[in-house]
């Protein structure tokens, strides 16, 4: 009885704050734009039966007709995928170093990974503008060292978006990989070397496969939020970077076309369901392997 009550709390939370809003957004995506408050029609004021009769998939059809949308989806997928791979390339060595560090250092290293969360995400992204802009710290430093003679254009390019995503989501990559590596019995590496592996082949044949669960978890934890990312591309990516999160924002606030914006959001969610299901399966497999 008490367990049921305990479980009911998070479920009620999810129902109220996820399922209900989603239902509203879905309803909106089936309606048409209108000069009204709210800016769409039909609404419940027209009566339930009338409202349902007026629903159509026009907005979804529209998404397939204007190539802006599918290009934005594809571009988002590409940026999220590349950023995930880059985050993995940066995060894996860091997680590996943490897991191999002396026991007494590990809490400090862990702290350093989590430390950025203590500052607002927005402030940290704004700080990157100060670093990456033409007159920014990075260019000033490079000019001072004489490595370059004219400032580099980094801000408002895809590179800045990648830097922003890698920086922001790095802890989500490091922590699950670190957890997987930390759990690993060190004698496995010795056993692999004893059986004829070089250091490198021991890594590829034993360490990496055993951390795969952490790698998959980390990649999905980066990929899923990066796909719908809005702040980083709009602050660092400039107008040239096409990402679906930005399109969604513009549709809602600049065009005030709530029905189309809702359709964009519903499709984004459908795309995200695939990696989310994969993530859940991976977590389940991990839990089973640990038993």
């Amino acid at each position: 009885m008490r367990r049921a009550a305990l479980i009911a709390v998070p479920y009620a939370w999810l129902l109220a704050l996820f399922l209900v809003p989603f239902a509203i957004v879905f309803k909106m995506s089936l309606s048409d734009i209108a000069i009204a408050i709210p800016p769409y029609t039909p609404t419940l004021k027209d009566g339930l039966a009338e409202m349902i009769r007026a629903f159509d998939f026009e907005n979804y059809v529209f998404l397939t007709e204007d190539d802006l949308y599918w290009k934005a989806y594809l571009s988002s997928l590409k940026i999220a995928a590349i950023a995930t791979v880059l985050t993995l390339l940066v995060g894996y060595p860091m997680a590996y170093g943490m897991a191999r560090a002396p026991e007494e250092w590990r809490p400090t290293l862990m702290m350093l990974v989590i430390l950025p969360f203590w500052t607002s995400f927005l402030i940290r992204v704004y700080a990157w503008i100060g670093i990456l802009s033409t007159e920014g710290f990075l260019n000033q430093f490079l000019l001072w060292t004489g490595l370059i003679s004219a400032p580099l254009t980094i801000l408002n390019t895809a590179a800045a978006v990648y830097i922003g995503i890698v920086y922001t989501y790095l802890p989500f990559m490091i922590l699950p990989i670190y957890a997987a590596l930390d759990r690993m019995d060190g004698s496995l590496i010795e056993a692999a070397e004893d059986l004829g592996c070089s250091r490198l082949s021991a890594f590829w044949l034993v360490t990496f496969p055993l951390s795969r669960g952490g790698v998959i978890a980390g990649c999905l934890l980066v990929f899923i939020p990066a796909l719908g990312e809005f702040v980083i591309p709009s602050l660092l990516g400039g107008s040239g970077t096409l990402m679906i999160g930005k399109v969604l924002f513009e549709e809602f606030f600049n065009n005030r076309d709530w029905p189309v914006a809702s359709a964009v959001a519903v499709i984004l969610l459908l795309i995200l369901i695939i990696p989310i299901v994969l993530f859940q399966l991976n977590q389940q497999k991990q839990a089973e392997a640990d038993r």
Binding site: A191, E193, V206
Partner: protein, 386 residues
């Protein structure tokens, strides 16, 4: 019959297998004045030791005595700080673990959890780049040797502890190493399974002809499996000998005390015949006589080590025994097949006498606080100077 059994079979007066007794025999492993320090701590202290081919050699000692460090140096995971380790006549200091003809069975077994039993055993063979058919044949042999055919497709977490232990053994034997190192191989098994597995290990050692070096803190295990035992303490070897000699002729009180149960009587010696000495262990008691091949000087302090099972206990004063002492029963430990009587001598020392319980407990005629006699022969004990 098991080869290991011949090593100390009393019915065969000359041991069949004793390369250590042959001055011309070339050792497979030679530790030469090896020292290993970790910072200030000396794990191995100027140690010299030869181990011969086909031996089942046990490194025995309490935890922290350096036995595991010796094994890790043989495997290549540690390098000696000083001295030289030879394998088949070659210095192996510079040879990394993956290039040594040495394999190790880890205490934790260290089975690869993401690979099946079959793949675990094939792991080392695949690294050698052998062709598929040869690998499959070798893995099948190993599965058969360790009776694991039925479990080949399972993952390590799907089999029992005893089966895991056999997978670890099969994997370390698969590459047919010159030397197999076993780090507390049976530590994780329960007592009954451990005993069976000890005999299995001896069988496999005999069948494969591999040299085994086993690290253990369990003296019974070392006695059961080993052809020779090195008893270690604080980075030094106290004694290297066959199990029977370690038990019967320990060279120090430490070794006598570490292996099995022992009574130690301290006193001073006077010679009372050829190779015979009187031990004055208490001021107002007649001395004990003991034979010793080792020379002692008059007045030297010494210790008599005597095993409880070599001490006889009597209710009536017996006639014609070598050493006879009187005392009072302080305690009786009933072990089922044996009983150990703790007898207090008039001087306060307590001597344990162990008797096989050939009669039912209810028929036992010696009980607490009884006045009893204990006796042993001149040759039953060992005189030790340290």
């Amino acid at each position: 019959m098991r080869a290991a059994h011949f090593f100390w079979d009393a019915s065969l007066n000359t041991p069949v297998f004793a390369p250590w007794a042959d001055p011309d025999a070339k050792p497979l492993i030679r530790f030469q004045n090896v020292t290993k320090s970790f910072g200030d701590f000396t794990a191995i202290d100027d140690l010299t030791l030869d181990i011969f081919e086909r031996e089942f050699f046990a490194l025995l000692g309490p935890s922290g005595c350096g036995k595991t460090t010796m094994m890790r140096m043989l495997a290549g995971f540690e390098e000696p700080t000083q001295g030289r380790i030879e394998l088949a006549g070659r210095d192996i200091a510079a040879v990394p673990p993956n290039k040594r003809a040495v394999n190790m069975m880890f205490q934790s077994y260290a089975l690869f959890p993401h690979l099946s039993v079959w793949e675990n055993i094939a792991f080392g063979l695949r690294r050698e780049g052998k062709d598929k058919a040869a690998i499959a044949a070798r893995v099948e042999d190993m599965l058969k040797l360790t009776r694991l055919q039925k479990f080949a497709r399972r993952k390590p977490h799907q089999i029992s502890g005893g089966q895991r232990q056999r997978v670890a053994l099969a994997r370390s034997l698969a590459k047919a190493p010159k030397l197999l190192l076993l780090d507390e191989p049976l530590g994780a098994l329960d007592a009954k399974l451990r005993e069976d597995t000890q005999f299995e290990l001896m069988d496999i050692q005999e069948k494969t002809g591999t040299t085994f070096v086993i690290v253990t803190h369990d003296q019974e295990e070392a006695m059961t499996v080993a052809s020779r035992i090195a008893v270690m303490d604080e980075g030094k070897i106290m004694q290297v000998d066959t199990p029977d000699r370690i038990y019967e002729v320990p060279n120090s009180v430490y070794v006598a005390d570490f292996i099995g149960d022992v009574n130690i009587l301290d006193g001073t010696l006077t010679a009372n015949g050829e190779n015979s000495f009187a031990l004055h262990y208490a001021p107002d008691q007649a001395p004990i006589t003991a034979r010793s091949d080792r020379p002692f000087t008059d007045g030297q302090s010494a210790h008599l080590a005597i095993r409880p099972e070599k001490v006889a206990i009597h209710k009536e004063k017996p006639e014609g025994v070598d050493n006879l002492l009187s005392g009072e029963v302080l305690d009786i430990a009933y072990l089922g097949n044996l009983s150990t009587y703790h007898v207090r001598l008039p001087g306060g020392q307590v001597v344990k006498a162990q008797i096989a319980n050939t009669r039912r407990l209810s028929r036992r005629d010696i009980t607490w606080e009884d006045k009893v006699w204990i006796s042993w022969t001149f040759t039953a004990g060992v005189l030790l100077d340290q």
